[in-house]
Symmetry: C2
Subunit: 413 residues, 2 copies
């Protein structure tokens, strides 16, 4: 008899489990709050108008169009009932399961200051990316209409909060727009008026990456004109700027990349969590006492061989997904523990200044950027997306043009 596998979340972990189980005896239901799988590593490129949403996202049901054992449901899970083995959705419908994989990912955590969210959007979804893109483009347009450089200064100021990979990529990417391509289309504003700040609470950026990456990253950002402010936790965020110790940076352009926390659904699982809200799982990724319920991806706290928790990165989620796919297919009593194989980590800082760390080789520059680009492109699910993104990137690199600088809503100017 076919078994029901319910997967909550159509991200890297969820998708890779389901793909591993094609032509298996499972009836798979994937439930996601959006209708698409998002290639998050490239989301910052949508936010800075280098790529279209359609370049980095694909409808989940299109991914599984030919895989007949997969059903896709657009909806929000509000409860997991571990006793009756059912998930319940916001609209009241419920799905029974033999096995459940909770792969709901992470969100931005404002450390209890949820009112900051409105002024400082995070970068987790397409909506987020489009919101940020619109703010960046509108700020340039507003600045363009103000004759006095002092009065327009704040519109050309950008603050990115959080010195992890996301914050670093956003800051570098904004520096890139502001300093090269887009400015040639404006008549009044000048590139050197742009001020970009990366604000970090700790005393260094790219925490969790090995040297010399953090050092090189810092140097590269500074060369690109980004002012990195360390040891500066955010004290307040208002509509018109960011308050840090001893300084108020006046700007409407604030992007939040700090304080990542697991999706709130994890709380309702009733398992032990770490301080980021991630579920602490068994070596086989199941939750204590329920060998048929698993957590994978950014929402799971999984230890590496040194006892440190694995970071919330795409390769980790992908490997966990594949591991679970194999585990479920075999359905053995004795389960091998999950083991993560680190194939290298990359972060990019602008067009030709990527910093890479692959298997002990540490290199930077154009080559790293190219390599990163190629790796990411081949991760993209679906040939069509790969071709398009590659074409986009090539075009973008050759022409330095920002192809997708659209403000879809009408301005309130």
């Amino acid at each position: 008899m076919a078994k029901n596998l319910v997967i909550i979340g159509g991200g890297f972990a969820g998708i890779s489990v389901a793909k591993k189980l094609s032509s298996s005896g499972f009836n798979i239901t994937i439930i996601d709050k959006t209708n698409h799988h998002l290639f998050q590593p490239l989301l910052y490129q949508v936010a800075t108008a280098a790529l279209s949403p359609g370049d980095i996202a694909m409808p989940i049901r299109a991914i599984f169009s030919k895989q007949k054992n997969v059903e896709v449901v657009l909806g929000e899970v509000t409860e997991v009932n571990k006793d009756s083995n059912r998930v319940i959705l916001k609209n009241g419908s419920s799905f029974p399961f033999h096995y459940l994989i909770v792969a709901v990912g992470a969100q931005y955590n404002y450390f209890g200051n949820d009112e900051w969210k409105e002024h400082a959007p995070g970068l987790k979804s397409l909506s987020d990316a489009l919101e940020i893109r619109e703010r960046i483009l509108l700020s340039l347009e507003k600045a363009e209409q103000i004759i006095d450089p002092q009065k327009r200064e704040k519109f050309l100021t950008y603050v990115v909060i959080g010195g992890g990979p996301t914050g670093v990529e956003m800051a570098g990417s904004i520096a890139e727009i502001a300093k090269r391509s887009m400015m040639r289309d404006f008549r009044n504003i000048k590139p050197d008026e742009t001020k970009i700040y990366l604000v970090e609470a700790a005393d260094g950026i790219l925490n969790g990456f090995d040297e010399p990456l953090p050092e090189k990253g810092l140097k590269t950002l500074e060369e690109m004109g980004v002012e990195v402010i360390l040891n500066s936790p955010v004290q307040d965020i208002k509509e018109n700027g960011v308050q840090i110790e001893g300084r108020f940076i006046e700007t409407p352009n604030i992007i939040w990349g700090a304080g990542v926390a697991a999706s709130p659904l994890i709380k309702s699982l009733g398992v032990k969590t770490d301080r980021m809200g991630r579920a602490i799982v068994e070596p086989d990724l199941s939750i204590a006492g329920h060998p048929n319920i698993f957590v994978a991806g950014d929402a799971a706290h999984v230890k590496d061989k040194d006892g440190n928790p694995l970071p919330g990165l795409a390769p980790v989620a992908l490997q966990q997904g594949k591991y679970l796919g194999d585990l479920l297919r075999k359905e053995e009593k004795n389960r091998e523990p999950f083991k993560y194989i680190d194939k290298g980590t990359m972060a990019t800082i602008g067009r030709a200044k990527a910093v890479a760390d692959i298997r002990g080789f540490k290199f930077s520059g154009f080559f790293a950027w190219l390599l990163w680009g190629l790796i990411h492109i081949f991760f993209l699910i679906g040939f069509r997306n790969r071709f398009r993104v590659f074409a986009e990137w090539t075009w973008h690199y050759i022409t330095f043009k920002r192809g997708v600088r659209l403000i879809a809503k009408k301005d309130e100017a």
Copy 2:
């Protein structure tokens, strides 16, 4: 001394005037409520998830990047002062002009029933197209989760109001999605459950086109499964459906393509207008008593050689723009009247069923669709867009896939 030319509107008319005046003595300011030029004939393809917004739109300042005599302003004009020769914007700034071209286009007119707008969006801007796309995609997702075909019927029902080219294109395009590509990705809903209605108040569709186009159009729509309801003015539109004589069609999917009217700014010009609100202009497109103020494009009422008003179509706007560019460059006392040369009109009804009418030849089918596609692609401003749209179309045609089926906002399901 350089003269100031202010152009209100970055559509076909406005853009083509400015392009004609590169390397001229004019200082040109283009003011638009959005930051982009929109290729409206393909907007319905964004609404039905065949193209991305970025495929059919380009930032105005990118179009004129190299044309240094053009300044682009993002803003909304609220007043034209014909005595002081100034335009005033919503944000209070004002622009003096020697010459003014009002090319603000058209909007949808709900015949006084503005409350219908919320339930039945029109298709004039990218926001509109994305709104419609989202409603279409969400309706399919909702239907997919309802087991009882009768209960889900309304979600698979679509009503398009207005039998002009826009309505016909939308209805045909929805029929196409529903009946071919997308349905293979769903497990529960079946293509033959889809019901599409095109509602028209008059006794025929494609009014203003010569036979046999209207007849062929009607036949083609019906073959595609669209039910065309003639002689049925809309009596009421609610959130849950459309009321016509003797019938209430229950559906949340309502698209408005009727009642086109000129943009409200025309009223403030204080000129005679026709019943669609278009400015009645002199033979040289200027307004009576002000030979330095012109109206062009969909907002202008211009008579053809038979005394009938020209339709609001792209080729008309383009020719008027070029005419005005020439007129301004020469700055002669004696102005030749504007004369429109009809090179043919096309409307498309789905992938391979276009109905075309070029210079007396009337033909249909795949060839017409291809021709229409090529013509449109070469109208597209900017090589990059042309390449991309061509690539998209080729891919789309070959694979029957809907590449851009994204719902960016989270569902309230």
